[in-house]
Structure formats: C-alpha cells, structure tokens
Symmetry: D2
Subunit: 131 residues, 4 copies
Amino acid sequence: MAESTTTLRVRYAETDQMGVVYYANYLVWFEVARTDLLRNKGWSYRAMEASGVVLPVIEAQCHYRRPARYDDVMEIRTDARLLSPVRMEFRYEVTVQGVPGVVAFGHTIHAALGRDGRPCRLPAQVARALA
Amino acid sequence: MAESTTTLRVRYAETDQMGVVYYANYLVWFEVARTDLLRNKGWSYRAMEASGVVLPVIEAQCHYRRPARYDDVMEIRTDARLLSPVRMEFRYEVTVQGVPGVVAFGHTIHAALGRDGRPCRLPAQVARALA
Amino acid sequence: MAESTTTLRVRYAETDQMGVVYYANYLVWFEVARTDLLRNKGWSYRAMEASGVVLPVIEAQCHYRRPARYDDVMEIRTDARLLSPVRMEFRYEVTVQGVPGVVAFGHTIHAALGRDGRPCRLPAQVARALA
Amino acid sequence: MAESTTTLRVRYAETDQMGVVYYANYLVWFEVARTDLLRNKGWSYRAMEASGVVLPVIEAQCHYRRPARYDDVMEIRTDARLLSPVRMEFRYEVTVQGVPGVVAFGHTIHAALGRDGRPCRLPAQVARALA
C-alpha cells in the first residue's frame, strides 16, 4: 500500500460565511493529495492522462469532525490500494498541522478508463506502485 | 418527508480538463438543492442562520454514474428528513433534464449548532417541515 | 450591440469568511452572463466550441462597489460588441434584484481561436448577432 | 515597496474543458500571493482581520497571455504599495516555473475597512511594511 502526506495552506477563497472551509473544498484537497501520492511513487497523473488512461471518481465520501480555518496549514495523510485491476481506492485523513485531532477523513474510489471511455486495466506501473 | 426539485445549468467554471463536471461541484449543487428545498417549505436557511442556528455538514457522500457536461440542464431531486432532534439528512439524485439515467446520487448529514457552537435542537418550524 | 440580463441566486459556496461573495466569483457570473447573452441571440457557445472555435478570455476587469450576500438574487446586465473580426468584448453590470445601486461592473475581452490555437475570425453568425 | 514570490501547483479542479486553467482562478492565486507577501513582511492578514480591519478588493484586473495547465508549477511575483493611507495596490506576474514568458499579469486594489464597515487607515505596521 502506498502512502504520502500533503501539506497545504487554507485559502481565503476556500472559506465560507460560517468562517470555516466550505465542505466541497475537502474533495479538492483530496485531489491534490492523491496527485501528490502518485508523484511520490514516481508516477505522474498528468503523464498517465496524456497516455490515454483517466481515473474518474466513481464514489467520494467525507466525514467532517472539526472546522478548518483560513490560513491554517493542513496535513492530508493519504493511502492508496487496488480494489481490482480496474479500480482503486484512496483514503484521506485531514488534520491541522501541529494540532491533535482529526478535522476530516474520507475516501474516493476511481475507475480506470481508456480513450474509448471503457474500463481498462490500470497501467502496470501504477498497479505495482500500489501493490 | 419534504421533497423538491432544483434545476440548474452547468457552468463552464464547473468543468475540468476531462471535459466533464469536476466531482467536487456536485457537493455545491447539493447545497443549492437543499437551500431550495427549505425555501419551498416556506423556510429560509439564511433567516435561520441569522437567528443563530447553523447546519454544518458532518458527512457527505456522492456516487458518480455518468458525466455531466457544460451547458447541460441538471435536475436535482432532493428529499430531507430528521434523523434526530439535532440532526437531519438530505438525499439527492442528479439527472440531465430529459435524459434517462442517473448522473449521480448522494446524501449529506447535518448537525444543528447554536451560537455557542454546541448542538441544539432544530427550530420547531424546520422540524415540522421535515416531519 | 447585443444585450441580455441574467438572474442567479448567490450560493453559500460563493461566500467567504467576510460574509460576502468572494471576489473571483464575479468572473464566474460573468461567464454565465455571456453564455446567456449568446444563447438569447440564438447561438450556443457549446455548439461553437464543438465546431472548433473557442473564445478564451484575454483580459478581465471588475470593479466592486457593494457586497453581495448569500441567497441574494443577482441581476447581471450584459452587452457584447465586436472589437475586430477576431476579438469581442462583453461588459457586465451586477445588481441585487430590486435594490438600487450597482454591486459591481466589469468587462472581459475575448479572442477567437481555431483548432490550431491560432486567431481566427469569429463565426459569421456570431459576428452578425453582435453587429 | 514590498515584493515576494509565491509558488503553487495547478490543481485539476482549476482546469476547465478547454484543458487550461479557468480564468477566474488567477484571482484566487492573486489572493494566495498577496497573503504570502504580507506574511513574508512579518504580518498576517488573518491577524489583521481578527483585529477588526479587512481589506476588501475594490478593483481587480488580469491580462491572460498564455495558458497554464494542470500540474504546472506556477510562480507569482507580487509587489505591493500604498496608494493612500486607506488604499493599497498589489501587482502580480504569473509564469510557469522555468519557462520563459509571462502567463498572466494583473493587479488588485484594496480599501481598508474597520469593524463599522467604514474606511479606516491601514495599520501602521502594514503601512510601514509597504513604504
């Protein structure tokens, strides 16, 4: 199983009038985190997409435990695993750097699709990285 | 149980380089849909928030079945129900207007919090609307 | 010169912790407004893009006069004109429906590009609509 | 005059179906860049806002010269200056790291407002940092 940690700072744009990060933005952070994980494994999502394989999300879930605020430095711990030759899962845990307690956690499930829009096997390089 | 339908057109801003709606934007649409449902029940989220009760999301989930595209007219069928005196759930089903087949579906769970940030009972008016 | 008016309701997602609409979202509203203008002229941006002509923004400006708030119903009055055979301008004025006073105003300038990424003449149908 | 450079990587969420960064997102990057500039000057926008002074944008402009793409590492060079005791300007120049040529450039103008929503002098610490 592959793992990595992503660090990012909350943007003003990501807050809402409740004074905290708007809930949909966690899914954007998840995307940043999984791109980082793949890059850390020597693999580029951009390159894979250029080669004709895309990984659309087929399911996303997030549990929100505590608010995150503007200018907070967030840490997202991510792991990834194959669910099948054509499907993978990422799991995410979000904290504020240096602060105990989970802010949010969730997962996304992705299908590998080829140029024809049909399911295809994940590239061997990716499958190996996640094995 | 309260129900309503929201119609909106996909914005260019909501697409990504895969040529389809970016997955986090469905959670934004869910927010539009639940605000509409509450308004249709004679109740304003804005007014409730001004009165000191907020409804932060504590859980969100979305399943993605087919892509939505720029300029598509989306329909979001929403229902809402109380899970407890301090917690409610909205469920959403997203289609392209006039096109058979579900694009996405999901739910959000919300806790009612008072000015002090502590759980509080949903306003009686809201609880009645959802009963 | 072509003109139209777009109406939209402020989404919670569009607010920030200042309790007002985040400034970049006005540019998203401008995009919605110009798509509406073109549609009202019997013309679809989606169809044009499918035919191989895109209209990227080469300049955008917005002046912010008063805040807009969650759940406000906004009106965006838009006009469009050709600056040259390969360039067009949209201008926007944003108000809260039924409330005197301009919230914001601005403009965008667009270049017509063909499939090869090079400037091309605007489709005759569009040029006529804006004449 | 204060100056700084911000580095950020393009998120998938920031692209649109043209395969490039959606134009409104440059204004989000400008916000990240000016927050960084102020932090580099030993000053926190978050702390200022907590102290009761906000800096809403009253004008924003961006010129777009070349596209930016997913996963590109962007550099934003920013400078700031006082226009008056109650008004300041930031200017931004965006490039792809290591690639010659400007992707975009622009500016924002900000008014200092106090808790009462009325113009107020910029905090002395900020004014000094920008002198």
